[in-house]
Symmetry: C3
Subunit: 354 residues, 3 copies
């Protein structure tokens, strides 16, 4: 793929550098890996030194930054966003690679309702009373069980399982191997055995949600497990029954959220963090990677560690812990010094008494 530099400049809303309008750009790369023809970007002036060594033909940089001679730079007010726009330009990946039209080796229930321009890959299974909105693509080997409704312009990758009776909005992306609507994990001890608690609720994924590969979202015991509009989940995440996650939150890979916990909107959660059940995690809060959250998190708070505490406190305790080995020695020395003082005092008193 070849794009002239002036087209890129128009896209990101800047003037083409003098004399370079017709430069051919053939790819996108990091400053380090770039070869001739690549465009690259620099979001942080800290990496400015790489500008002198990169082989990139052009580099998007923060506007106002001084550029070394001999390199074509494209100053942008938001260089990261500009770079994303360039990535979009060079994105030749296609939904058609996942599925193109309704493959005749897919099984589509006669009473499923499909919108316009739906694609369904080979060996996908679309159950009874499923509805699928316009422009949605379902990958090969994906199963959608009866009663589920999927909105328009969704992209469901291969080998996904969407269980019965779920509700999925528009423009939802579900990566390969994800499982939506598996049973919540609930058992009641009864007669010395574990009696399975029926899981009769559903999962609701709102518009613009993205679900990572092999992530699991359990249906509600009753009612709904909800991932709200615009929230993004990475791979291998566990969302238990009746969890509710607000809008535009971001959960990194391998996070686990236990039953009935509610997570607000605009929350950022680091990888492998875990949440006990029935918690409330406030809007706009941040949870560090691997944090073990055992209590409610107030809105806007940043927590980390196990058990999770405010990040400030966690750092203070970590710093304090590192001083304990020396502290133990200090206190031992002080013990001896106090003993010595006590001995001197005792001797003085003996003398005075004597």
């Amino acid at each position: 793929m070849t794009v002239k530099l002036d087209r890129i400049c128009a896209l990101i809303g800047i003037e083409a550098p003098r004399g370079a309008a017709h430069l051919s750009i053939t790819g996108v790369a990091s400053l380090e890996d770039a070869r001739e023809g690549d465009i690259s970007f620099l979001s942080n002036t800290r990496y400015r030194k790489y500008l002198t060594s990169t082989a990139a033909s052009a580099v998007i940089v923060p506007s106002g930054m001084d550029s070394p001679p001999g390199i074509i730079t494209l100053p942008a007010d938001d260089p990261y966003l500009a770079f994303v726009q360039v990535l979009e330009l060079f994105d030749t990946r296609s939904r058609g690679d996942v599925a193109r039209g309704i493959d005749d080796r897919a099984v589509v229930s006669p009473d499923a309702v499909l919108g316009a321009d739906v694609s369904i890959g080979p060996f996908a299974v679309i159950g009874g009373e499923v509805s699928i909105g316009d422009g949605t693509t379902i990958g090969p080997g994906t199963t959608v069980l009866p009663g589920t409704r999927i909105g328009g312009n969704c992209l469901v990758y291969p080998n996904v399982t969407i269980m019965d009776g779920c509700l999925i909005g528009d423009r939802v992306i579900i990566h390969a191997g994800a499982v939506i609507g598996s049973d919540g994990f609930g058992f009641a001890p009864h007669d010395g055995r574990l009696k399975k608690i029926p899981q009769i609720g559903r999962v609701r994924l709102e518009d613009d949600v993205e679900i990572g590969a092999n992530t699991c979202i359990d249906r509600a015991t009753f009612g709904e497990t909800v991932v709200s509009r615009g929230t993004k989940l990475d791979n291998l995440i566990q969302i238990a029954h009746n969890v509710k996650i607000g809008m535009s939150s971001v959960l990194a890979a391998q996070v686990g959220v236990s039953g009935s916990t509610e997570i607000g909107g605009g929350v950022r959660i680091g990888g492998q963090a875990g949440f006990a059940g029935h918690l409330n995690v406030g809007e706009g809060s941040s949870v560090g990677a691997q944090a073990g959250v055992t209590k409610d998190v107030p809105s806007g708070e940043t927590v980390s560690g196990y058990p999770a505490k405010t990040h400030m406190l966690a750092m203070r305790l970590e710093a304090a812990l590192r001083q304990v080995p020396a502290l133990l020695k200090t206190v031992k020395r002080q013990e001896l010094r106090i003993e010595k003082l006590e001995q001197i005092i005792r001797e003085q008193e003996k003398k005075h008494a004597g």
Copy 2:
């Protein structure tokens, strides 16, 4: 679905409230979400206040609890169990949604042996010398490799992989995307490379086991990896080669158990907990979420934290750690006070000597 209240009362073994026997119940909901027609429940008198605000038409409550006026309550000795029975009543989900009969788009080896009333979904693959017991359902896209035996009345959801030569009991439930019998992870350093150790053992899942979505259970290097009768595993769990888990244990999501560790019966394990290899985790013990278990756990013990210790000790150390910042200051002050005392003593001695 509409059920009269007297039928519900008969089910849970209580008298129908006077005048309300013919009340129509149409659904199940939490006290908070309930609308007219819903039945709800209250297991903990702590939430008694919600009784006054709920829109539920009837609420199962602990027998003996005072009820506010204006709400129909159903007192039960075990309100949780009663509620589970009501959930079972309202459970209209059907195995038929997963698969109904033997789909002619499934591949069933001619020498597989299928019991009566077996259902196999489209695009499932049943290998040679596989046997499947009466009443078992295999979901779409699930593969069962040669030599595996599956008992009766099992429910295997879509896109599961059961490798060759495994042994699965009766009434086992395996959720979507789970992998049973993948290779144990073993390599021998040899000539500067990692030589793969053949994994020739198998997996045995006993009766009434439940395996969560995308959970992986590795086959034994030789011998068996075993999950015993009635044990329940949540989603995204890793069970390594040669692990043995006793009866009626419960493992929450994302737990990881390393090779050859033995976990007793009646053990409860919180989410994301991890176990080193070759450990013995005693019967009836409890392991906290995210615990990192590096040593044997005695029967009946409760452990938590990393490295895991008795929960009592873990809490005491956590409390102690929180006091360290203040302790550091105290000891610093004491240092000054001791120095001052030493100085006074030195001066006294000088004076006496002088």
Copy 3:
């Protein structure tokens, strides 16, 4: 399967024990589980006592070890390696169980290029411009999207998803349910929403790599996510976009590596360990199970804990922490003793002044 002992001895390069050359060996088991006919092994003289109680017909032992009478022992210089060779001999598992030939219920794009002796199971999907090398086996239900190249003698188990445009070497093993080339997790905040960053890079798995069941390896945002030659990944691992892992490293189950982190060759990583993004983990380093790595790890270093520190330091701090409850008491007692000393001194001074 029955093998004469002299064949086993020839295999592992030792003389057959006198009079036992024709002994029939029918299986492999641990010392504890072995029955007559089984061969077992003992790698550690610590377990020597089990030799007297095992029912094994022969036991591979470290050469030079004294053996009790009444048991046939096979002394080997590297008993572990010898045992692996015996396991290989008894390994009757077959690629043919995964897939045999090109099943006519697979979908193979007409412009896919298949080598000799390729096997593709039923319901596998091989997209356009995919190439697959000689002797490679693709399991049932596995999808390979367009443009991916797979080398020779690979073994891809069922229900795997390999996304478009990936590059896979020779003799690579990919276990069931794994996802290769899913989107990196990247979003740019824009107009109060999360704008998806196109993920236009790929995944490259070099020769002799092994990928565990349900493990996910995200494609690069641009450029490549790389797992180098001979590196082994266990189940349920998350490898984020643009991660690079060196040769012959070993990652245990449920490890998570964040975007752009580089891990050297010969690195050993324990289960559930996590890595922040953009880190450098040096060659030959070791990372403990559940470690939370937030900083670069020098080559050869061993780190553990959260936040990860050298294992020596982590152990010292853990030991120190356990002394804090007693320390708190000691310091409280010292406080009183210092107060008392101060009081005595004050009284002395008062007396002297008086």
